[in-house]
């Protein structure tokens, strides 16, 4: 009797508590500041983009973006907890607030921007979908792929582009679809498929962890546009602004030649626009975002400018060896262009 009563009281109490949690809503920035760290959704291990080392420290291009955001908020690039997310998990994780920001080689599309309830930031990496095959297969063009078995990750733009490309070119194929990228890789390496398709950056990263990278080659065709951008959930404009402007600060820093190493000096020696960006004038750029005035200086100091991030993790001098291409600054014939910070 007593037990039963306790049981029913607790269930009522539990219901009320859940209700209480549901109704309280703070801004994402306040939540993050109260919590003391940023929750960042990343890929579960893509060399160059987000990869944990032996000690569990994450590093990579996507990880650096999280570190930059963390530095802008906390003056501390390490106040981040990383959540590795598969293709199928990632959007639910953002929608439900499990992560504050998704920095995970995610393509910006209309559908995701609207129906999936996401807001995308500045494109951090202009990519496209390609194909990787074995060198001894004798395939030299994606148009030779009629009848091929194609290994791919499920739940990405990849599988849609794939269907469209083979349809348009009147070719047949067999999709072999895995949820996790390492399973795709194992199946391709285990000769299950003739082709591995993914974003070109992803292919370059995965080729590195093959049994013998030199046995594989990437076909010349790029079959889609994949603008990879960080994403946050709908409904918090301030938070969306912060994510956006951290990108602009990183790209702007490269435009102005501000680096991790010279950022402190630039605060006094830089041009007016540089000093304004770094919070060394009496403009209140930080206040408008809800941050401190040196937010950009902190971000740049933590990870360097956009070019430094690129060169450190994915550029020509890294194992990935990806050229700047479309990701060069607009002044160098690329597409990276920072909005003015003023």
């Amino acid at each position: 009797m007593k037990k039963k009563m306790i049981l029913s009281f607790t269930s009522v109490a539990a219901a009320m508590m859940v209700a209480g949690i549901g109704s309280a809503q703070a801004s994402t920035l306040e939540e993050v500041q109260d919590r003391g760290y940023l929750q960042c959704g990343v890929s579960p291990g893509v060399a160059g983009f987000s990869n944990p080392d032996d000690d569990g420290n994450w590093s990579g291009f996507d990880v650096d973006f999280c570190r930059a955001v963390s530095a802008a908020i906390f003056n501390d690039a390490d106040a981040v907890r990383y959540t590795p997310l598969s293709n199928t998990e990632r959007f639910t994780a953002v929608q439900s607030g499990e992560v504050d920001v998704l920095s995970r080689t995610t393509t910006r599309t209309l559908n995701r921007d609207t129906a999936l309830g996401l807001n995308f930031g500045q494109v951090m990496f202009y990519d496209g979908q390609g194909f990787m095959v074995r060198k001894d297969s004798g395939i030299n063009s994606a148009l030779d792929l009629d009848g091929a078995s194609v290994c791919t990750s499920s739940g990405s733009t990849t599988e849609l582009n794939l269907a469209d490309y083979f349809n348009e070119n009147d070719m047949s194929y067999l999709p072999v679809r895995f949820d996790r990228a390492d399973e795709v890789l194992a199946a391709y390496d285990g000769m299950r498929c003739d082709v591995y398709t993914s974003d070109l950056s992803g292919l370059a990263a995965r080729r590195l962890v093959m049994n013998d990278p030199s046995e594989h080659k990437i076909l010349p065709e790029t079959i889609s546009k994949e603008p990879l951008a960080p994403a946050v959930r709908h409904g918090d404009d301030q938070w969306s602004d912060i994510i956006n402007w951290v990108s602009h600060a990183l790209i702007g820093a490269e435009e102005h030649g501000v680096t991790a190493e010279n950022v402190e000096r630039m605060k006094s020696e830089g041009s007016v626009s540089v000093r304004r960006m770094l919070g060394a004038t009496n403009d209140t750029t930080g206040e408008w975002l809800g941050l401190t005035n040196d937010w950009a200086a902190q971000a740049i100091g933590a990870v360097g400018n956009y070019g430094e991030m690129f060169e450190r993790h994915v550029g020509p001098n890294t194992p990935l060896g990806i050229e700047r291409g479309l990701n060069a600054l607009y002044t160098d014939g690329g597409m990276q262009y920072a909005m003015p910070i003023k």
């Binding site: 859940v18 499920s154 794939l162």
Partner: protein, 392 residues
């Protein structure tokens, strides 16, 4: 001191039944409130963030392809169609798995109680191995055990008669039914029903009179002679689509994908180990007096098993067997990890991410698994009821 002690008046709501009813009603109200709260809160949150909701997406174009489908499907088909493809794939895998696991499991169970030392030990080793390794691991094992050693399509293992085995699967000829074959199938069906009826009749006669009636000729007539005669009568013709190596792979014919093969092997081997133990328990659970009596009556060892022990063992076997079948049907979801296109892979994978409607797609998958589980439980309960009734 002859005063009669009146029991203290009991407050009405503390009386047993009323009290119980009150508590139960209270609990149900709380439960309904909680579910309603979760439901409305989810909907509110979804609409606050401007995320699409509802099942309208089912009518939209899916845009992805599926490796294996028993019903026509292209990337232009709808998400609803993709759902049905996934459902059929899952049901085929579960069905084949249950049949295989049952055959294997019963053989194992019989082997376990065998008087032959070697057979009994082999069965024990098999059971202890397969039921103690996690199913997911077994899936990966079979998948890569099948993939790695097999040659590429160009160097296929050829069995003759159009059968080829390679790391793209098992290619085999596919019969093409042309003119008049529908007649043959119709006659085959009628023949089966007729022979089945005759077999039931024979069983009844034996029960009533004790005289056995031979039925093998009825089966022969129904399944072979009548359809064959129809074949020649209507001059039916049948083509054969033979797999031919073109480019990367075989074209034509049909193919059993390595994903299908690996999933089927893993599921049926894993579940058969459990079924084997259930069958052993069932057999050993039959009173020893029954066996002794049968031996005293001069039954052979075979008849003793077939007529005395197994029918009684079924009483013990069927309820836990149901659990194993349910578990097999639900474990098909693990096949998503080796790229078998079943419900988790297509509905809770591709469809979920392409539409972003996690709540709806997961709900669909849940409804499917509940429906399948209830169906299996229903069939097995009916079977159990039949066996119980026979006993009385």
């Amino acid at each position: 001191m002859s005063q009669i002690l009146k029991p203290p008046r009991q407050v009405f709501w503390t009386r047993g039944r009323i009290k119980a009813t009150l508590f139960q009603a209270g609990f149900i109200v709380c439960l309904v409130l909680l579910v309603w709260f979760i439901f409305s809160n989810t909907l509110a949150n979804i609409s606050n963030q401007g995320i699409a909701s509802g099942f309208g997406f089912l009518e939209k174009r899916a845009g992805f392809d599926v490796a294996l489908s028993f019903i026509p499907f292209t990337s232009d088909s709808t998400y609803a169609r993709a759902f049905w493809v996934a459902v059929v794939n899952t049901l085929v895998l579960s069905g084949l798995g249950i049949v295989l696991a049952t055959i294997l499991g019963f053989s194992l169970g019989l082997a376990r109680v065998s008087k032959n030392w070697l057979i009994a030990r082999l069965a024990t080793v098999y059971i202890e191995t397969f039921r103690n390794i996690p199913l997911l691991l077994q899936m990966f094992f079979w998948y890569f055990a099948i993939l790695r050693p097999l040659p590429s399509p160009r160097d296929s293992v050829e069995f003759g008669a159009g059968f080829f085995l390679n790391n793209r699967g098992l290619s085999m000829p596919r019969p093409l039914f042309e003119t008049g074959s529908s007649w043959v199938f119709a006659v085959l069906f009628v023949g089966f029903v007729f022979a089945f009826y005759m077999a039931r009749r024979a069983l009844r006669i034996r029960k009533e009179t004790g005289h056995g009636v031979k039925v093998i000729h009825w089966w022969l007539l129904g399944l072979v002679i009548a359809p064959a005669a129809t074949w020649f009568l209507v001059d039916a013709s049948m083509g054969l689509s033979v797999p031919v190596l073109t480019g990367f792979n075989f074209r034509g014919g049909m193919v059993v994908l390595p994903e299908m093969l690996a999933a089927l092997l893993a599921l049926s081997f894993y579940i058969s180990a459990a079924v084997g133990e259930i069958v052993r328990a069932g057999i050993q659970g039959v009173d020893h007096g029954q066996t002794e009596a049968a031996e005293a009556l001069g039954h052979s060892r075979k008849d003793l098993m077939r007529l005395i022990v197994i029918p009684q063992a079924m009483l013990i076997i069927i309820p836990p067997l149901t659990t194993q079948y349910l578990s097999l049907a639900k474990n098909t979801s693990l096949a998503a990890a080796i790229a078998f296109p079943e419900v988790i892979s297509i509905v809770a994978g591709s469809t979920l991410t392409q539409t972003g409607q996690a709540v709806e797609t997961i709900a669909l998958a849940m409804v499917f698994y509940i429906a399948v589980s209830l169906a299996i439980a229903g069939v097995m309960n009916y079977l159990n009821y039949r066996v119980m009734r026979q006993r009385v």
